[in-house]
Amino acid sequence: MDGYTTSELWSIFAMQGFSGLSLLSVLLLMALGLAIIFGQMGVINMAHGEFMAIGAYTTVMLSKVALEYGFGNYYFLFAIVASFGVAFLVGYLVELGLIQHLYKRPLDTLLATWGLSLIMQQAFRSTFGAKEVSAELPEWLMGSFKPTETVDIPINGVFVMGLTAVVCLGVFIFLFRSRWGLRVRATTQNRVMAGAVGINTKKVDRVTFALGCGIAGVAGAAFTTIASTGPTTGSLYIVDSFMVVVFGGAASLMGTVLSAFGIAQAQSILQFFMDSSMGKVVTLLVIVTILMLRPEGLFAAKVRR
């Protein structure tokens, strides 16, 4: 890091930090969905990235419609809801047709959902074409703030960050403050007992899985503000999202938030100093090394096993 003055370094950190915000938001939303599905249900969803792509494609489609009818400035909020809805619905159907038969075989679920992701990718390619498509962003999402001379903060990053915070809060309230959340947690802890006290555990599973997919859909909507969407967009994020979940300690939502922050920031700052591939290699290597030293993740409770 020679050749930079301290104040320049701070600006770099600040700017890379803020440009990391968008990445952080997408990663965090992806990881949140995964954490719910994996942490609460023990299911590995390799097709999670494709659910993100569903959300992204939904947003792109809506932006085309919106432009046609001239409400391009407001559609985005609606698109977020729609992305959630479509991904939720597809997730619900997938649970019904596939996942529910595999609950006791986590490794098999992993393979089956990988197959699902291949099918979904090809479906995107057949429907929307192999080329990447992008949404027309409303004007108010463009541009950037300039708090000081050297620092530049993109508005879309801030918006997406806010959206992520709202979703996180929503998930938290849903899981820890609502009746449904209570059912979900009860089912996680003791499936048989939960069933015995009258909780429809199958329905709980279905809604939990669909919810996780829905949040991935929101991640997709957020994704359209920073990049264009292609059939394999989702698969680029799946490994990183898994790292976030595992690194944070699978059962801890707070851990997921912190680890998403750490990983996204480390990557974006390292990528400034090295080339982008080495930045990624170093980040992943550090995570894998830490996981080898502390396999239960950073935030896991000690319990009698």
């Binding site: 006791k104 679920t109 699902l116 291949l118 099918i119 992943l284 396999p295």
Partner: protein, 402 residues
């Protein structure tokens, strides 16, 4: 002694028949029935079969799913490729380069000297040792770190996947040292022997086939020993094994290293037969596709894995030639179908079919024969290569080896 070999290496009568059929297909039917171009393709598929066999040991018997077998396939392949590349880059044939005598891609990337870790690959002996030792050592480090800390199951799968990703990014990113995304290409001779000629292709195909059969035999010996029984026990009740005085991690490390070594042999044979090595065979996608070869063949069947690798790749070739857009649907469907409906793959279907076909023979007699052998046989029983549904637990089924 002879009897022990018969039981363990050949898997008894039916195991021997299965092996003979496979050998006949590899050594007679395919070479006689296919032109050289197609046979060379089969040879390529058979190098994947090494990985599929390694996954039967690791995943089918050990219950350890590695989504990073491409790492070891790739390491083996790259070691071989480095040797061949150095031989192809003698000062004479590279004299138009800025720095003659180093591989062309290094010259393109402004390297002026051979990197230190390339130096020993001038020696064939070193290369052959490295092909086996480098991947095994790498597997040992990963395995030691993970299994000693009891990381297993899904976590292990994901971490191996990430390591495959790291290695791919590294190879692609470090173009000057690795050849980057194109890999190491333009390989020509092995100690002066031109590997691109028709006769060399035939010879390499047969060497490949013989190595594959040898690997299956060695695997059978291992599975037929108490080690194989212990693996089943470990998958079923790991705690009980640990509290019977076994260090469970050691066994997992061993089988992971063994699987790495087997995959590496496949990788090296790939480089020799196909004439190049690239990061396309290292990453996440090839690694998980190799799992599906084993799954289609039957995750508990060594021989099934070979057929799985052949069949899936044949399908891939046919479809990519005529309906490329359908292939991913089919591949995806295969993953789902094999998990949902055919957990034991082809081997499972074969068992069922074979049972029906031979009902006149006292099939259930084989069960009691099995038990009495347990008593009288001085060896732990033969390899139980066939499978029963994993949900019920797969263990000692009494179907013949296929």
């Amino acid at each position: 002694m002879m009897k022990a070999m018969y039981q363990n290496m050949l898997g008894g009568r039916s195991g021997m028949i299965g092996l003979l059929i496979l050998a006949a297909i590899i050594f007679l039917v395919l070479p006689l029935g296919l032109d050289l171009f197609r046979l060379n393709l089969v040879g390529k598929y058979l190098t994947y079969a090494f990985v599929a066999v390694s996954l039967v040991l690791l995943w089918g018997y050990g219950g350890i799913l590695s989504l990073g077998q491409g790492i070891f396939f790739g390491l083996g392949g790259y070691c071989m490729a480095m040797f061949l590349k150095l031989e192809a880059s003698d000062p004479e044939s590279t004299k138009i380069q800025t720095t003659p005598g180093i591989p062309d891609f290094m010259d393109w990337n402004q390297l002026t000297a051979l990197p230190w870790f390339w130096e020993p690959f001038h020696s064939l002996t070193f290369t052959l040792i490295a092909i086996l030792a480098v991947p095994t050592l790498f597997a040992f480090i990963i395995g030691y770190a993970m299994f000693k800390r009891r990381v297993g199951g899904v976590y292990f799968a994901i971490i191996t996947q990430v390591i495959a990703l790291i290695l791919t990014i590294l190879i692609v990113g470090q173009q000057g040292y690795t050849g980057g995304v194109n890999g190491i290409t333009d390989l020509k001779t092995l100690m002066g022997w031109d590997i691109r000629t028709d006769s060399a292709k035939y010879i390499l195909y047969f060497i490949n086939g013989a190595l594959l059969i040898a690997v299956i035999l060695v695997s059978r010996v291992i599975l037929g020993s108490k080690f194989g029984m212990l693996m089943l026990a470990m998958r079923d009740k790991e705690e009980r094994v640990r509290f019977s005085g076994y260090d469970v991690a050691d066994f997992k490390i061993f089988v992971f290293c063994l699987a790495a070594m087997i995959s590496a042999i496949g990788g090296a044979m790939f480089t020799l037969q196909v004439g190049f090595m690239s990061p396309t065979f290292v990453g996440i996608v090839p690694s998980i596709e190799m799992v599906i070869f084993a799954a289609v063949g039957g995750r508990m069947s060594l021989i099934g894995a070979v057929y799985g690798a052949l069949l899936v790749n044949y399908g891939k070739t046919v479809f990519s030639e005529s309906y490329p857009e359908l292939w991913l649907f089919l591949m995806g469907g295969l993953f789902i179908a094999v998990v949902m409906f055919f957990p034991n793959g082809l081997a499972g279907i074969y068992d069922k079919y074979e049972k029906k076909l031979f009902t006149r023979k006292p099939r259930k007699g084989s069960a009691s024969a099995m038990s009495s052998r347990t008593l009288s046989d001085p060896q732990p029983g033969p390899v139980r290569d066939a499978a029963s549904p994993p949900a019920k637990g797969m263990g000692i089924s009494n179907q013949p080896v296929n």
